[in-house]
Amino acid sequence: MNVPLRKPEKVLSLSHMGVMQPSRLSFLRQLMRDLARLEATVTRSVWDMSAEGHGHAVYAVELGGYTYSLIAFSQHLADEDRSDRVIATAWDAAFVLFDGVPEASDIARLKQNVPHQEAGRLSPKELVLSRANKSVRLFTHVVDALRNGRQPEKAQIADCGYLMRTTAVYGNGKFGLADRTAYDQRPGLSGPFAAEMLTVWLIRGFTHDLAEHLGGAEINRDIKRFLGVGNATGLGMAPFLVSHPQLLHAWFHAREKALSAVLSKDAVSATEAETLLHRGAEASAYLESWEVADEDAMAEIRELRAEWSAFFATASKEALCVPGGLRAVFAGAQSGSPALEELAAAWILEPFDHQVALSTEGMATQLDLALDGAMTCGALKALIEEKCAWALSADFDKKSATAQFWYVSEEKLEPRLGARHEEPGADRESPLDTARAMQALHAALPATDEPCFTFLARAPEHRAIARRVQHLAGNDYGEIRANLIGEEAAPIHLLRAKLSFFGATRFDPKSTLWTRVTLAQGLPLRDEIGRDVPWLPSL
């Protein structure tokens, strides 16, 4: 039986994107599989750190015939200077992933630049730039406990889950870093954001080492494994999904293709069913331990706990193993909330490495959008009607449909979101108004046999959106099904979707504009590559 892919109108709606969960396709988990497959090794080659924990460290990674080095700089930071805001100028620690083994001259150069982040300058020898601040409360607790000959309290570890949180992880040529094309064919770094994920995973090990250095003792492995890296993500991440329709399609299509392949299986083996039950129990424990301060978000988590509990009770080994059993169980999730469906969609992939592996190829596509100039204006108009119903149904005469505008701030050159009818600056808005542009193209196009390239030569303001519409013809998952300048469009949904693909857990939204998450929680430590990776970790 061939189960059709879920429709893009569903999975690319904000209501589904905003409740996504990490899955076996997530980039951190892809990286873990690659590290194991390529028998990567990590060694701490330099630890030049003062008694106060200030100095630098180097971690060398042997991966696929190449050596990479995470260089970490740790410095004193006054409490009043510690900020997760993108406008911060100093951090507890700064990091760079170096291509090769750094010479003393490289360390000296990087020491002058890396701690300054955006104000510094990198070179093609560096692949990724990042920085992190301590979670002061937990970091202090862990160090104090170790100094007093104790292990940290598990309750406190579970409550926070990280010793430091990154506030930016830059790659692909930013600030002079190497272009992604310089390394995207290398083993282990060809996956989407693979170099960035490798950096985050290595940073996590550094945070453990720094706490142990200051505490004078080792943290137990089960605790250490649960200590991931926090991340504070603002809306600067959101426009990426709009400006990269090829990647958006590749990621979502890969997931839906894997899900379809799994659901198309006529039978589930006993071993696969046992894995599903094990991972499902993992999800139950995770949901019970997932606590956030925001009341609305917490209410949604409680609702999901109840839904998952009722749903998972239907997923007995017998129910899963009968012919068509997996489809029947998943159909139960589809009758629930979007949050339940997305959780179940991620869960179902867990035992099926073969289907996942077949789907993940091509998730890092970088193809350019191209215009099919021979397509007639009439055909292009019909294509908009077929593929872009959500755009045509928006009423842009209403103020609410254009309530927001995206722009780049002069101060930090970062994306921001403004209120169009209340703030100045809309005349400089960033082109994230895809629904409005699609509707404008549809209105302007004549329903004729004229090739569209001649029309677009006369009306070049429509040419960019015409390319996007044509891209949708064979790439159904290439557009978010929402008017992103409407009053209902909240960036937090886009952040949730993208961070889920990264492999983030414990979403902790602080507003509609930013969220805290945890990365690399539960993953193997650097000397445990190949160890089983949990889907949703809990302590």
Binding site: I87, P124, R180, S409, R416, A457, R458, I465
Partner: protein, 174 residues
């Protein structure tokens, strides 16, 4: 006075050219094309040509179609060159760009396409064929980057209390 060449990544240059194109008022697709072409493949001479192009006034392209022959009059390279591969793919046998203002941009814009260019005085004819190899000389200079950044800055919105609150990422300590 010309300044020293700088080391910028191609991703940075692509993003900068795109933003500069938008800041100069180019339609979005032309700004995208400019970024991809000159940002990825351009050398010092191409950056000079791009800057001259951005400074000039622009208007919609005057495209004439006569059977399989396409002519664009008074062709501005940063607008017209993006149309050449798609017109040839759409069935045109030849595209002629009359009085092409910046021939130095041809090689960048046609990278990755099977399009051959032939010069005829101030006019250029394009047909399907083997593109000339790209020859990049010096990387862009600091003063070129500064000029492009000035165009890009036209797309930025000055800071205000409201804009800062719209940045996300809170500052709470934990």
């Amino acid at each position: 006075m010309a300044s020293e060449p700088l080391s910028f990544s191609r991703a940075e240059l692509t993003a900068l050219l795109f933003k500069a194109g938008r800041g100069a008022g180019l339609p979005l697709a032309h700004a995208e094309d400019l970024g991809r072409a000159v940002g990825r493949y351009g050398d010092e001479a191409a950056f000079d040509a791009a800057l001259r192009s951005l400074a000039a006034p622009w208007s919609a392209i005057d495209l004439q179609m006569d059977g399989t022959q396409i002519t664009i009059k008074n062709a501005r390279a940063i607008q017209a060159l993006g149309h050449v591969p798609e017109a040839l793919e759409a069935g045109a046998e030849q595209v002629t760009l009359c009085s092409l203002d910046e021939p130095a941009l041809i090689a960048c814009f046609l990278q990755g396409f099977d399009v051959a260019a032939q010069q005829d005085g101030a006019h250029w004819h394009f047909r399907k064929g083997q593109a000339a190899p790209l020859v990049t000389a010096k990387p862009p200079r600091a003063d070129q980057i500064e000029s492009l950044e000035a165009y890009a800055a036209r797309t930025y919105v000055p800071a205000s209390a409201t804009s800062r609150s719209g940045a996300g990422q809170g500052a709470d300590q934990d």
